[in-house]
């Protein structure tokens, strides 16, 4: 394992510290307990947005704290959800009285820790609503699993719910917009290589030169199945088809197409995937109205990508376009 780190156990502390130094104009970092808030939090009258989860997915979530998106991000250890004693003070710190929405990716750990925190924050007088993100079509949503995971769709939920909060929507309305995005977004990912969790020191799975993992999540976990390596167009077809099928995308639909890198894949390759996905959508008569291409929700240095499609309507498009000023996503300001 070769990494630009000092002590494997200090990775999150030092990285968040560096993040705070680099973006002192946008965020404030609390170190004990660890969370990141928007510099001007709490914003009077505005609903607060808090998300969080394991570290190792950067820029998610810290990179999305700022005007028009999150009010706070709560980083756990690498690939480990944060604890209530971080989430509670983050929630209190961004509550202006208008209540707080928790955006939670659907993993047992995240759900349980945010649930506890929400209960305790409510006990301290903060109204909390939870938006659960579960957009990963690789996982069957059934009684026999922990349900679908939250992956790429999370970025879009955070941006769009953030814009709703920024324009002054009330607590229930912000949560409803978040839910609506979640209902209209699906994703699926592929890994060409594993990642190495610093404290583990070995790759999270073993994959040979000719294999890829289809249907991975974002925690370096193996996917649903392993197949022989294919070319970019073939892989793109494989990821896109279940996404479109599950969403029921049809000719005439308007979508946002998001090709996300898992951290170790060059941008040029993401655009090759984007190209194919755009072709497929054009062939189906679907109009790609907005695009996002890059490393936004990652698994450390994993090679691979995910494709996310969000069905747009005018309101969601308007909220997507609304100004945002965070470390990782910025426009209009």
């Amino acid at each position: 394992m070769k990494k630009l780190i000092n002590d494997p156990r200090a990775v999150v502390d030092e990285s968040v510290e560096g993040f705070g130094l680099a973006h002192a104009d946008i965020v404030t970092v609390s170190t004990e307990p660890k969370f990141i808030t928007r510099k001007d939090a709490p914003v009077a009258g505005k609903v607060g947005l808090v998300s969080g989860g394991g570290s190792g997915h950067e820029p998610l979530h810290g990179g999305f704290v700022g005007v028009g998106m999150l009010d706070a991000a709560v980083p756990g250890a690498v690939f480990t959800s944060p604890t209530p004693d971080q989430i509670i003070p983050a929630t209190l710190a961004v509550n202006s009285g208008a209540g707080v929405v928790h955006i939670v990716k659907n993993y047992t750990g995240d759900v349980l820790n945010f649930e506890t925190a929400a209960e305790m924050a409510e006990a301290e007088g903060v109204q909390v609503r939870t938006v659960l993100v579960n957009d990963d079509v690789a996982v069957e949503d059934s009684l026999y699993t922990a349900g679908r995971r939250g992956v790429g769709g999370t970025v879009l939920v955070e941006k769009i719910a953030g814009a709703a909060a920024e324009r002054g929507d009330d607590l229930d309305a912000v949560a409803a917009i978040g839910d609506r995005v979640n209902q209209n977004v699906r994703s699926m990912g592929v890994a060409l290589s594993a990642c190495t969790v610093p404290h583990a020191g070995v790759p999270s799975f073993d994959l040979d030169e000719k294999e890829i993992e289809i249907g991975i999540g974002i925690h370096g976990e193996p996917g649903r199945h392993r197949i022989p390596m294919e070319n970019a167009d073939g892989i793109t077809n494989r990821l896109l088809e279940p996404v479109l099928g599950d969403l029921g995308i049809a000719s005439g639909d308007k979508v946002l197409l998001f090709v996300n890198g898992m951290g170790g894949t060059p941008q040029s390759e993401l655009y090759i995937v984007y190209r194919r996905a755009a072709q497929v959508l054009a062939d189906k008569g679907v109009s790609v109205e907005r695009s996002l291409v890059g490393n936004y929700i990652t698994s450390l240095e994993m090679q691979g990508c995910s494709i996310t499609v969000l069905r747009l309507d005018d309101e969601l498009t308007g909220l997507w376009d609304a100004p945002v000023h965070t470390a990782a996503l910025r426009w209009g300001i």
Partner: protein
């Protein structure tokens, strides 16, 4: 003779030792069907327990377990943090202010712990989670306590053995809860890391009473 606060402190100390010793093994188990962090999480959590024990030595076994619950809840994270946190909290509540724990109280505390995990995590037996180590342990403790010979050490040994067997029995199962469930059938053929950490903790409880 029952179990006192010194036993509880020894138990938690031995548990911390076990998590440190088995850290890599638990990471490796989690790597196969999860995200490679269970050993790290438990090691970090029990180190925090030790720090708290040193800071403010508890007066009763219940107080020791409550402090443990709080430390695990705030330092472990992931799925295991809230689940073990709830388990220790419920066990602490079950023990109340008792300074000396007899077999019945012990069996009741173990059952309370398991019930707390099920209440939080909604897993059933056979879902390939830590519940598959806790449930046989609860049954063994209850049976040993019902035998009525008053020997807590016997209860603890039976509990540990049952948990260990329960952990081993997760090998062929297909996970239906937690992160391993995403793997579907690929989860079969691997041992559940949380069941193994449960067995280690319950073995430490017996070791502390020897």
């Amino acid at each position: 003779m029952g179990l006192d606060v010194d036993w509880a402190v020894r138990w938690l100390t031995l548990s911390a030792q076990a998590m440190a010793d088995h850290r890599t093994e638990l990471i490796e188990l989690d790597r196969a069907i999860g995200d490679s962090d269970h050993g790290e999480n438990m090691d970090r959590g029990f180190k925090a327990v030790l720090a708290k024990l040193a800071e403010a030595p508890p007066a009763t076994p219940g107080a020791a377990l409550k402090l443990t619950a709080m430390a695990l809840m705030s330092k472990v994270g992931g799925a295991a943090g809230p689940l073990y946190g709830t388990a220790f909290l419920r066990a602490a509540t079950s023990l109340g202010d008792a300074t000396d724990i007899d077999p019945e109280a012990l069996a009741a505390a173990i059952q309370a712990a398991r019930d707390g995990i099920v209440a939080r995590g909604k897993a059933e037996s056979g879902d390939k989670t830590m519940v598959d180590a806790w449930t046989p342990a609860v049954e063994a403790a209850a049976a040993e306590a019902a035998a009525g010979n008053g020997d807590v050490l016997k209860v603890l040994h039976a509990t540990a053995e049952a948990a260990e067997a329960g952990a081993v029995a997760t090998d062929p199962l297909i996970a239906r809860k937690g992160r391993a469930s995403y793997l579907g059938e690929r989860s079969a053929g691997h041992r559940d890391p949380g069941a193994v950490s449960t067995a280690l903790i319950l073995r430490a409880a017996a070791g502390a009473a020897e």
